[in-house]
Amino acid sequence: MSTRLATAGRLLDRASTMEFTFNGKRMQGHEGDTLASALLANDQMLVGRSFKYHRPRGLVASGAEEPNGLVNMGAGAFFEPNQRITTTELFEGLAAESQNHWPSLEFDVGAVNAKLSRFMPAGFYYKMFIHPRPLWKHVYEPFIRKAAGLGRAPTEMDGSSYEHFYAHVDVLITGGGIAGLAAALAAGRAGADVLLVEQTAHWGGRAPVDGAQIDGLDGDTWVKETVQALESMDNVTLRNRTMGTGVYDHGYALAYERLTDHAPDQDGPRHRLWRIRARQIVTATGSIERPLSFAGNDIPGVMLAGAVRDYAVNFGVSLGDRTVVVTNNDDAYRTAITLKDAGLDVPVILDARPTADGSLVQQAREMGIRVALGKGIAHVNGAKRVTGVSICLQAGEGSEIEEIACDAVAMSGGWSPVVHLWSHCGGKLIWDDAQSHFRPDASRPPLGADGLGFVVPAGAANGAMSTAEVLVDAFQAGAAAAKAAGATGKTGRGPTGDTPKEEPMAPVWLMPQGASYKLRSKMWLDYQNDVKVSDVQLAAREGYESVEHTKRYTTLGMATDQGKLSNINGLATLAGALNAPIPAVGTTTFRPPYTPISMGAIGGEARGELFQPLHKTPMHDWHDANGADWEPVGHWRRAYAFVRGAETVEQAVQREVTNTRENLGLLDASTLGKLIVRGPDAGKFLDMLYTNMMSTLKPGRCRYGLMCTENGFLSDDGVVARIDDDTFLCHTTTGGADRIYAHMEEWLQTEWWDWQVYVTNVTEQFAQVAVVGPNARKVLEKLGGMDVSAEALSFMDWADGTIGGFDCRVYRISFSGELSFEIAVPASQGRAFWDALLEAGAEFGVMPYGTECLHIMRAEKGFIMIGDETDGTVIPQDLGLHWAISKKKDDFLGKRAQERDHMTDPTRWQLVGLETTDGSVIPDGAYAVGEGVNENGQRNTQGRVTSTYHSPTLGRGIAMGLVLHGPDRMGEVIEFPKVDGTSVKAKIVNPVFFDPEGEKQNV
C-alpha cells in the first residue's frame, strides 16, 4: 500500500495539516503536498478510469506529464473538470471527484469494455456501426459520446477573473530547474533583461531530488543561493507557478501563471496570461521519463521510476513497501537506492541490459539490492493494484522464470528532452542514438524575422542528461542568448556539478523483445486513451504508416497529456512494425500549449461588459433613460426606437415617422463616420475614391458620394463637405467609419504614398444631431444665432456659426425627404445641445427618433441604404445611381471593374419600388420567382427584396428590390414566395414613394 513515510519530504511542512475530500471521503495532507502526493499518502492508488476501456488507473508520473490523475474539482461557479492532480497544490477544503465512471470509481460498469477489448482494437469504430444508417445518429453515436469524454461539463458562469500581462524582454527562460537557473545567471550577469518562469511552485527541478552536488553544495542549498542571487539582480524577473506554454513567430511567447489555484480564498485573478516579446528564448524545460512497454504496465502501482523517487523525496510518500525496479538505464538505480535508504524493500532491479556496472549499479549492489541483468517483466500481476511481477528474459518471448511478490513497480525506459517549445515555431529535431531520444538540432532553430535563430535549448531539454553537463550547457545557452539579444556584460564562470559516472542506456521498446500478441495487447503506450503496442502494430499492418496516420487511427498521443509519455514509445513501436529507423518515421507536430491552459486565461479581462469596447454617443445616457430600444451597429449602440409608456416597439416606430413628417424629429447622428481628408492632393485623392467628381466641389457646399471596391461593388456612401481648398470632411455610414478610414489609409500608404494627403478620423470628436421635419427651421430660429433661412443656407450648403450659443457646423442635407439640418457640435457639448433642442422644440412637437424610423423615411423616399440595397455584389449602376458616377474622370476605384462583361450585362437585376397588391409587408429577404428550374433543379428567380417596411405615411407595405429588367417593367406584378408556402404579390413601381418632387425638403 502507498503511505506516508515517517521522515523526509523536502517540500512538506509537516506541522501544518490540511483537510480535503476525494469522492466525498475526508482525507488529510500537509502544506506542500500536491493532490497526487496527498492521495498516495492516504493509500488512494486508484485515481481514475481510462477513456476507452474504463481500466482502473493509478498515478504514473509526478508532474505535467501525468495522463491518469485527472479529477473534477470545486463546485458551482468554481467547478472545473480534468484537473491534473500532480500539478494541483493541496489547499484546505479541496474537494475532488474522480471522473469517467459509473456508478463509482471502484465499480465501473464501463469496465465491461475492457472485457470486450479484443473486439475494440484501434479504429474498430471505422469498421462497424455502419448499418443500418439511422442508428449512428440515434443509437451508436449517443452511446459513444456518453462513454467518452472525461470530466463533467461546467454549468455555471465562471466565478473567477483573469488577466493578461505584457512583457518585453531580452531573454525569456522557460524552466526553473538548475538549467534555467544557470542560464539566468549567465544572461543576468551579461546584463540582459531576463524573465525566468517555472511551472511549479518550486525552483530547482529534479536536481535536488537526485542528490546533485553543485559548486560543492548540495542541490537545495545551491538552488536557494542562486535564486537569491538572481532576485538581487534588477534586470532579472523570476516567476514560479508560471508555465511557458507556447512559442510563436517573431519571438512571441506565452506564459501561464496560476495565481490562486493553490489558494482559492485569495483575492485577485485566478490566472494570468503573459504575452511576451522576447529577443531570445531559452528552453530549459528538462526531460520526461519514458515508460517501458511490458504487459500490465497500466495496473495501478506501476509508476515511472523518477516519479517514485519524487514522491519519496519531495513528499515523504512511498508507493509501496516492496518495489520492483525495471529499467534500461542507470538512472533508475537512484530510485532503488532512495527507497532502500528510506527503509523500504526493493526485492530486485530488473535491468534489461546484458551488462551494467556503473557507479550507481555498484552502489545498489553494495546496499544488498539484487540486480538481475538481461531480465524484464513478462507481465504484472494484479487488477486494481499491483500484487507481483513475473520475470522473463528480455531477449526471449516472455516465458516466466520467476514470480516476485511486490506492491509497486518503478519503471524507466530512459529520458526524452522536452522539445515542445523548441518545436512550436519550427525548430527541428535530430535523433540521438546513444540516448535513444530526439533532441533539438541546434543547426536548425526556429528563425526570426532576421533569419537567425531565436530559441536556444538548454540542459536536459537539449539532451544534456547529467548534472555536470546540464550546468555547462545551460550556462552557455544563457550566455549565448544574452549575447544574441545584444547584452555585452561579462558572464563570469559558470557553476559546475558532480555526477556519478553512468553507463549508456540501451533502447528497449518491447519487453520482452519477442513478446507474443497476448502480451503486446496488454502493453499500454497511451494510458489515458488506451492505445497499446498491438494497436500501433495493427495500424501499421493496415497501411496507416505515416506517424500522423497512426496517431489519428489509434488516437495515440491525442489525450490530455498530448503524448508526453507515449509519443516516443509509440513511434519506436511503429518504426519496429515498419522495419524502419526511428528518425525516418519522425514525430507528430508539437503544438501549443505545452499543457492545457484555461480558456478563461486566454480570454483575459475581456468578458461581459468588457467583451468589446462599447462606443457611446454623448447623448447615450439620455437615450437610455428615455426608452431607447438598443441595437448594436458596429461597436456603437444606437436607439432603434424610443418606446413610450405601454406602446410596442413597432408602435413607437410608426409614431416617430408620423411625428417627424408632421412636426419635428431629432436623430442622434453622432455615430456617422467623419473623416477629415486634407492636403494639396485631397481633391485628387477623393476623385479616385469616390465615383463622383469631388475636386470640383466648392467650399461651403456638400455632395453625396459613392465609394466602390476595386471590384466595382458599392461599399459605402455619404455626404462630403468641402471645408476649404485643401480640406474635405467625408461622412461615412456608421458601420463603415473604421473600415473606410482603413481603406483610405491603405491606398495612401501602399499606392499613392507620394500624394500629399492625410486622413484623420474625427468621428468621436463631434456630436451630430439631425433636426428634421416641417418645424426644423423654427426650432433653430427660436434658439437663435446663425442665419438658417433658405436663402442663407440652401439645400446642400453647410456653414459654421452658433445656435443657441453653441458653436456648431450646420449641414443642410436630408436623408428623410423633410426639411433637415444636420448639426455638429463638439462632442463635449452634445448632450447640452440635445437638451436645448428638446426644450426649445417642445412647442413644435419635438420627438427623438431611432434608426428604424430613419430607415422607413429613407425608403419612402427611395434612398438606398448600404447593407440593405448593397451586399457586396451590387454596383451603383444596379441602383440607378448613374448620375453619381462621373463620366469625366479617367479613373476611380471600381471604374475598370464596372466595365467588365458581367457588370454591363443588361440582365443584371435593377432597383425598383415594390407595392404589395394587398398592402401587406413583403418578408425580409424574399425572392421573386421566375419560370421553371435551372440545370441544378433550383427554382429560377427574377428578383429579390432589399428593404421592406410598413409605411405609416402611405399606410401600406412598401419595399425596394432588385428585379430583372425592373425599370422597364413598371406596373407588372411579380410573386414572392414566403417560407410558410404562401406567397405575396407586388407591383413594380418607381422607388420614390413619397414627395417625388422634393417639395418638403427644399423649403
Binding site: 445518429k137 504508416e545 484555461s598 480558456m599 429577404g925
Partner: protein, 414 residues
C-alpha cells in the same frame, strides 16, 4: 476488398486481428494512366472515387506529396452544412451534404456523419435580415433550413447565453440535417475505395513539373519519376497557384493560415454545431468530448501551417461570451492549416488554358463539407467536359466579374 462489419471484427478478434489487409495499396507508379489526380486530400480522393464509380474510369493515379489526408482534410473543424445563399454554392454544397448522408454505406467505412444540426446565430438586425434572406433562397434551392427564434436556439443549445450582454441572440438559421463527420475517416474511406477499384494512391511523391505538348497536358514530372496521363486534375488547395505556374497559367488565389483549437474532452453538453459570425467563432463537441473551436484567418499570406495567437484569443473570447461555461475548460491544442482563398471566397472548379488539365481549388475556409460534392462534380467535369454543378465556378468568372460572393451570408469562415 475485405468488407468491414461487426462480423468481420468478431472473426478477427478470434485471431488476433491478423487478417486485416491494408486499407489501401502502396504501389510504385505505372508509366501512364488515363487520369492523374495531384493531391490525395479529401477533394482529390473523392474526385478519383467518382471518376471510377460514376464514369468507370479506374486507370487513375492519385499522387500526394506528403501523406494522404494530411492537409486541410485532417485539420478542419468538420462542419457540414449547405445553407448557402447563392444558387451555385447551394447546389454544390447541398449535393455534397446529401452524399455525406450515405457515405459510410457507400464506402463501407464509418465516417461518422452526424446530422446533428447546425445553427448560425443572428446577433444583429442586419444578420437577422441576412439569414431570413438565406432561408428564402434555400427554400427555392431545395435546401431545408429555417429561421428560428432565440427561445428555440436556447432549447437546442442549453449551454448558450442568449441574453448578451453585448450581442443578445436574435435568432438563428437552422439546418437540421447539417452536422459533422470524422474528417480523417473521409480521406481514408475514399482512399480504401479507390484502391479497391484498382486505382494507385502514391504517397511521398511530389510533382515537380507539368508536362505539356502543343498546349495539351501529357503528364507530370515527380520525385518518383515521370508519370504520363491523358487528363490531369490539380486538387492541391493552397499550392494550386504553384501547380498552375508549372503549367504556365495563373490562378487568383491567396494562401493564408486558418486556426482551430480543441478543449480537453468533457461529457456531452452540446448536441449541435453553432456558428456565431458577429462575434467570430464557431463550436461543436466531438464524439470524443472535446469542444472543437474555429475562428478567423490571419491577415497575411503564408505557408507555415501555424497562425497568430491573437486570433485564438479573439475566438476564445467570442465563445466565452456565447458559452460562458467554457471559461473553465482548458485549451488542449491549437493548430493551423493553410487555406486557399479566392477573390470571391468561392471555389474554382475549372478547365484550364492547358487542354486536359483541370483544377479544383479555392475552397478556402469551408472545404471539408464540400468534399463529396466537389469530387462528384469534378469527376463529371473531367469525364464529360461539362458539369452543371461546376458551370459557375470556372476560373474565367474573375475576368468577367461574375463572382459568387457568399460574404453576405457567412461573414467569417464557412
Amino acid at each position: 476488398m475485405k468488407r468491414y462489419s461487426v462480423f468481420a471484427i468478431a472473426r478477427e478478434a478470434m485471431r488476433q486481428h491478423a487478417g486485416w489487409p491494408r486499407a489501401w495499396a502502396s504501389p510504385t507508379p505505372k508509366a501512364k494512366y488515363d487520369v492523374v489526380i495531384v493531391g490525395a486530400g479529401g477533394h482529390g480522393l473523392a474526385t478519383a472515387y467518382y471518376l471510377g464509380k460514376n464514369f468507370g474510369i479506374t486507370n487513375v493515379a492519385v499522387i500526394e506529396k506528403g501523406w494522404l489526408g494530411g492537409g486541410n482534410t485532417g485539420r478542419n473543424t468538420t462542419i457540414i452544412r449547405s445553407n448557402y445563399l447563392q444558387d451555385p454554392s447551394a447546389a454544390i454544397y447541398e449535393k455534397s451534404r446529401s452524399l455525406y448522408e450515405t457515405m459510410s454505406q457507400d464506402l463501407n467505412y464509418n465516417v461518422m456523419f452526424s446530422p446533428r444540426g447546425v445553427i448560425m446565430l443572428a446577433q444583429t438586425h442586419h444578420e437577422v435580415r441576412g439569414y431570413q434572406r438565406t432561408a428564402h433562397a434555400n427554400a427555392l434551392q431545395g435546401v431545408k433550413t429555417e429561421f428560428i427564434s432565440p427561445a428555440r436556439v436556447k432549447q437546442l443549445v442549453p449551454i448558450m447565453n442568449i441574453d448578451g450582454p453585448r450581442y443578445p441572440v436574435l435568432g438563428g438559421l437552422w439546418q437540421a440535417r447539417g452536422g459533422t463527420a470524422r474528417h480523417d475517416a473521409v480521406a481514408w474511406g475514399y482512399a480504401r475505395a479507390c484502391s479497391d477499384m484498382g486505382m494507385d494512391i502514391i504517397q511521398q511523391c511530389e510533382v515537380t513539373n507539368v508536362l505539356t505538348d502543343g498546349g495539351k497536358v501529357t503528364g507530370v514530372e515527380t520525385s518518383k519519376g515521370k508519370i504520363l496521363c491523358d487528363k490531369l486534375g490539380g486538387v492541391v488547395a493552397g499550392h494550386s497557384s504553384a501547380l498552375a505556374e508549372m503549367a504556365g497559367f495563373q490562378l487568383p488565389m491567396e494562401s493564408v493560415a486558418l486556426q482551430a483549437l480543441v478543449s480537453e474532452p468533457i461529457k456531452p453538453c452540446m448536441d449541435v454545431v453553432v456558428m456565431a459570425n458577429t462575434v467570430h467563432g464557431y463550436m461543436s463537441q466531438s464524439d470524443k468530448g472535446e469542444m472543437v473551436i474555429g475562428g478567423g484567418t490571419d491577415g497575411y499570406n503564408n505557408y507555415t501551417q501555424r497562425g497568430s495567437f491573437h486570433h485564438i484569443e479573439e475566438t476564445v473570447r467570442a465563445l466565452i461570451e456565447t458559452f460562458p461555461m467554457i471559461s473553465r475548460l482548458k485549451m488542449l491544442r491549437q493548430w493551423g492549416g493553410i487555406v486557399d482563398v479566392t477573390g470571391d471566397r468561392s471555389p474554382i472548379l475549372t478547365k484550364t488554358p492547358v487542354e486536359g488539365m483541370f483544377m479544383n481549388c479555392g475552397w478556402g475556409t469551408g472545404g471539408f463539407k464540400a468534399i463529396p460534392g466537389s469530387g462528384w462534380a469534378m469527376a463529371e467535369l473531367m469525364a464529360n467536359g461539362h458539369s452543371p454543378l461546376t458551370e459557375e465556378f470556372s476560373m474565367n468568372r474573375f475576368r468577367a466579374g461574375k463572382f459568387i460572393d457568399e460574404s453576405v451570408a457567412a461573414g467569417v469562415a464557412h
